[in-house]
Symmetry: C2
Subunit: 419 residues, 2 copies
């Protein structure tokens, strides 16, 4: 077995923590979390900080039409293919400071180490990427920037997405100076993303590194229920067309679909947009955002149909109009087997305990998967908590993840070019 | 029977329609409704318009600490008691243009007619009043300005109420120039409010004038359910503490409490504040705004306890913390019997078909009820629709209401002073 401990690659962990903390301060919430939704002023400031850091270190920075940032580093023949690594800087409205930012800043540190690792002969060039609107908190759908890169969505579709105030992604990116006009780089030779697990499997299993084998399937819906706004007082019960009551029944029904599978299918409703959302007015319209997730593609299809039937039945019973849209429909999939093995070998060689698992959450890496060999490296999340200000990963675990990302990229960058 | 047709009192219906339409244009929505929530810029503009109209006609205008506007007219001995008439100019976010504004502008026209009705000997003076935040859409609770006037709330309590953005009523009133410092007038000799019915009884009964005998009881709650925000993806179902699921169950339970009374008790949830309300995050906290209304005070107490038990049970089952606050608790009550009879007699004398009914909706008149003899005059609402942009009352019905308000006030203002 070859030496996978990447000798000569010196990761500046002090620089990692310094940059991580600086970026985590932008949009920091009182409870130590983050409110840095996509293309907000805070998102813009965090992008500025990371870009300045990279520019200082001679990375060539460009921004594509949907605000994805590419910081490229020529390590080999300038015409040689690139390996990309990165993640996202946007957060949930009350998210944690590790989700996404860890993968971006980890990528910066590792890439900078490659730059100064002058002894090596590299066959590939390296790029750090920051994807736009991974979270889908402000603009729907999630993984929008990486989705455009992968050809799943057009730039025009992405740029026309609106937040709840009717601001388009194009307007918001323009306001923070990240509505770029550069061409995105060509399809990379490989994409590797470092991320926190956002679940509790690694911690429970006492594993330090997660090797992501595949992703769960997910179907997401935006279901708009339209009744009639009316005074909560004088309107007789039998005359009401109460959109919020119908929405509540749909939330309960959505949970029941999961319960019937004993938790094999995960279902959630995290968001409802209620109009006019006034205590003295029966809601005229409610949009329910539901998601269904499982590893079993047949179960996913069956459960989605069941959810759609439930929405129709509830709406019909309440004399409510229903408009059901599938916002996301991705099958369970597998990541590149060769890269999985490589990550596992590097982690083992460096003395960490790797564990194979699947990601239930969506990630930019899932968008990249159909495009090129893709890998994800997970580090443990304390108590599995994520999308919460209490999200936490220890410095030891963070540094281990960087070390494995460094080793993995070090191998990939030196891999002989396939003719 | 004396002559109750108020000869010599000339109501300028053209002026009524002109002022009504001018005011209805402020905050007008594309569908012909109103978005003019309390102490908004639009509320300020509509106040400015009405105050300018009154000032031009020599009313003496003052604004109290919570923004209630009083436009006083000396018709008798300046030390004689006042009769007050008025309503509110604030609306629901997508409300109708008749709710409240009709009573204010009707009061202006009738009061101006009294001013020019010089032949008469009046024993009382007259005031037009515009109450702050009747709707409770922006600041909770509703009937806040009239509640302060009636001594139900302190000014400090009212001024410290916050909207969803954390703006206090004091700040909002300051911004529109209606944070006054005048003393409110003394307790009036009587209060008469003209209003649309917001229900369908008058229309169904082919009655033109509603004589409000009393009000339904109402208990309103703000129930905050606190779980744990978490990623909708990787969090296993059994670990979730989903505040939105608990809220949905409470909405369904609240409706079931009404269903068990076959509609004798009305229950509604029109508003939920969901945190963080992001599609990929299990809600950490949801506040549910529920109301229960009935004419039967015993049923109201019993049903309120049932609602509170339901909230506790649902929260306990979901391992959710619950904080339940009663925001409003008003018993079913009766309006002044003598005034009811007077309104009925005036309506009959003028050739309208009066009908006695109770108000299910809250009104400023209900706040005034414990303070002084109080009456409400209703006119029909087309299809009973209110708190909706489609709210409508015909010009004929509007003018009939003005006519009856005029006649009623004409009698009250000339009534001998009780020693």
């Amino acid at each position: 077995m070859k030496n996978l401990t990447s000798p000569g690659l010196l990761l500046d962990m002090a620089a990692f923590h310094a940059l991580f903390d600086t970026v985590a301060a932008v949009g920091c919430t009182p409870l130590g979390g983050l409110n840095r939704v996509a293309a907000s002023q805070e998102d813009g400031q965090s992008r500025d900080l990371v870009c300045a850091w990279l520019a200082q270190r001679h990375f060539k920075i460009s921004v594509d039409r949907v605000g994805n940032i590419y910081a490229l580093l020529t390590l080999a023949d300038p015409t040689a293919p690139y390996v990309l690594t990165g993640s996202h800087l946007d957060s949930q409205p009350r998210g944690g400071r590790f989700d996404g930012a860890y993968g971006v800043i980890g990528a910066c540190i590792v890439a900078d180490a490659m730059r100064t690792c002058a002894q090596q002969q590299f066959s590939h060039n390296l790029g750090v990427v920051i994807w736009t609107n991974e979270e889908g908190a402000r603009f729907s759908p999630s993984m929008l920037g990486s989705g455009v890169f992968a050809g799943r969505y057009t730039s025009d579709f992405a740029l026309s997405r609106q937040d709840v105030h009717g601001v388009t992604l194009a307007q918001a990116l323009g306001q923070i100076g990240y509505l770029g006009d550069s061409e995105a780089p060509a399809v990379p030779a490989a994409y590797v993303e470092l991320h926190i697990e956002q679940g509790g499997l690694l911690e429970i299993s006492n594993a330090g590194i997660g090797v992501v084998e595949g992703n769960w399937g997910a179907v997401k819906y935006a279901v708009t229920l339209r009744g009639t706004a009316a005074h909560t007082g004088p309107t007789p019960m039998e005359q009401r067309r109460d959109a919020l009551l119908a929405a509540a029944k749909l939330v309960v029904a959505c949970r029941a679909i999961s319960d019937a599978t004993f938790g094999k299918l995960l279902t959630s409703v995290g968001r409802m947009d209620i109009e006019p959302n006034s205590s003295n007015v029966i809601a005229g319209s409610v949009t329910v955002y539901a998601d269904l997730r499982t590893t079993d593609n047949a179960l996913l299809i069956e459960s989605s149909l069941e959810f759609e039937r439930a929405a129709s039945t509830i709406a019909a019973d309440a004399k409510i109009e229903v408009d059901l849209q599938q916002v996301v429909n991705r099958s369970a999939g597998i990541f590149d087997a060769g890269l999985c093995t490589l990550v596992e070998q590097v982690a083992t060689a460096k003395g960490y305990r790797p564990m194979r698992l699947s990601t239930i959450a969506g990630h930019d890496a899932i968008a990249l998967c159909p495009l090129c060999p893709t890998a994800m490296i997970f580090v443990p999340s304390k108590d599995g908590i994520s999308h919460n200000e209490a999200e936490f990963t220890s410095s030891t675990d963070l540094e281990a993840g960087l070390d494995v990302l460094g080793g993995t990229l070090h191998e990939l960058l030196r891999k002989p070019l396939t003719p």
